[in-house]
Amino acid sequence: MSEIKNNSYDQHRSRRKFLKGMAAGIGLIALPGNEASASIWEEFFQKHFRELSKDELKGVITRLEKDYSKKYGKQVTVKTTPPIEGVRYGYALDISRCIGCRRCVYACVKENNQSRDPQIHWIRVLQLDKEKGVDLSHAEQYYNPEKVPEKGHFYMPVQCQQCEKPPCTKVCPVQATWKENDGIVVVDYNWCIGCRYCMAACPYGARHFNFGKPSIPASEVNPVTHYLGNRPRPKGVVEKCTFCVQRTREQPGRYPACEEICPVGARKFGNLLDPESEIRYLMEKKRVFILKEDLNTQPKFFYFYAT
């Protein structure tokens, strides 16, 4: 009798031991052991960008820079430059000049570390009929003739319009996207949950989702990045044009990449609050319109006719 009892006790104890061992083992796997998983741990508990204290932000940036530099094999810097006081960015595009060559699309991809495969383009160039005018129901974005411009057509590149009343930021359930004081609408990629409500809300199709793991050839990565701009994004977050925040927020600040590449000089960029800027000149002297004005999004991206 006692023998049996003893036996079952032993059995019982060994099962308990086994389960304990299992739990400990699983725990060990899940717990951050090496450095890489430590950064995952930190990332998981990272606060919203605007709630980070100075020290916390420093820690986040160091972690990101280390991760990116390791991943792409070169020194990647992540800036957090705040908006410049007294600046509200505006962009204007000369419809009468644009020839639809798509140089801007690819300059943007390169500057802003957009995924090559699956492909993400922040700028979409629409080909429209001269006869129909700005009628988006007849827009064609897959045109590919031997030479542009084609007869009877004009071209209208569309990107984030940096609305003064952005519908996209309103719908974000976690406030991962917002409008900065210089008018740029930005996304905290670490806070975005990928619900894509903002994409549904945007009337310009200017937001893009990383459905797959973004891939950028290490040699083509732009190492000068901004936290809210062109730093490499993870899978499952939304991204958009930021008027090249990593360039334009500097003093002196370079023109955005799309402005710089345009072979016909159709793209104009400047400070809307500076009465001497080219953007103010053309707004006062040229025929200017905004896209989907009836929606009252109040874009700061203007289309104009210089001739």
């Binding site: 798509r102 699956p118 492909q119 045109y143 023109y255 072979p263």
Partner: protein
């Protein structure tokens, strides 16, 4: 009654017009006080016409010069005087057969000839209508003689490409960097590839 009804709008119109006339700051004859070198005060009566400010062309601000990159010369072609200094200038309008045969003038060719823009005697200079000789770095002034609206826009950076810093130094391009002066229409380009259609994005 009938007369009043027709007279009324005319009267109102007249009233508005006279109001408008009066509100446009009029210039009246006045006494002008002036001090001469010795401090003597002289008061002179001046008529309204004399006091009316007139536009003086000399007060116009001087044309600003723009920092531009070197003009896009065909290699080895500049300075022009390396060949032209030993040649007798020939102002005769003709078809070029010996040299510059690659230049096809497609820029109001019916009205224009080389020496309208290129200076006949010193070939390293361009010539404005006023007779002023300018260097090739200032060719925007030559183009601006006819294309004044484009010149005005170019100066503020609205026509043409400008690079550099939006809040700092900017680099201009000359007109001729984008427009061949002999055939100025912007040439068509091959577009970069179109985006991938959404169906092809699935992996």
């Amino acid at each position: 009654m009938k007369i009043l009804r027709t007279a009324c709008p005319t009267l109102v119109l007249l009233g508005i017009m006279s109001l408008l006339f009066l509100s446009a700051e009029p210039v009246f004859a006045a006494k002008v006080k002036e001090f001469d070198r010795s401090g003597q005060l002289t008061v002179t009566e001046k008529s309204a016409a004399e006091l009316q400010p007139s536009y003086n062309i000399k007060n116009r601000p001087k044309e600003k010069t723009f920092e531009v990159p070197r003009p896009p010369f065909t290699e080895g072609i500049f300075p022009c005087t390396q060949c032209h200094s030993s040649m007798k200038p020939n102002p005769q309008r003709r078809t070029l057969t010996d040299f510059h045969t690659d230049i096809v003038l497609h820029h109001a060719e019916g009205e224009r000839w080389c020496t309208d823009c290129h200076n006949l005697l010193d070939r390293d200079k361009l010539r404005l209508v006023s007779g002023e000789l300018i260097s090739f770095d200032e060719s925007y002034r030559l183009c601006g003689q006819c294309h004044g609206d484009k010149f005005r826009d170019w100066k503020v950076g609205v026509h043409g490409k400008r690079t550099g810093n939006w809040n700092g130094d900017k680099q201009y391009l000359l007109c001729v960097h984008c427009h061949n002066p002999h055939d100025p229409k912007f040439k068509a380009l091959k577009p970069l590839p179109p985006p991938v259609r959404p169906g092809a994005l699935r992996h």
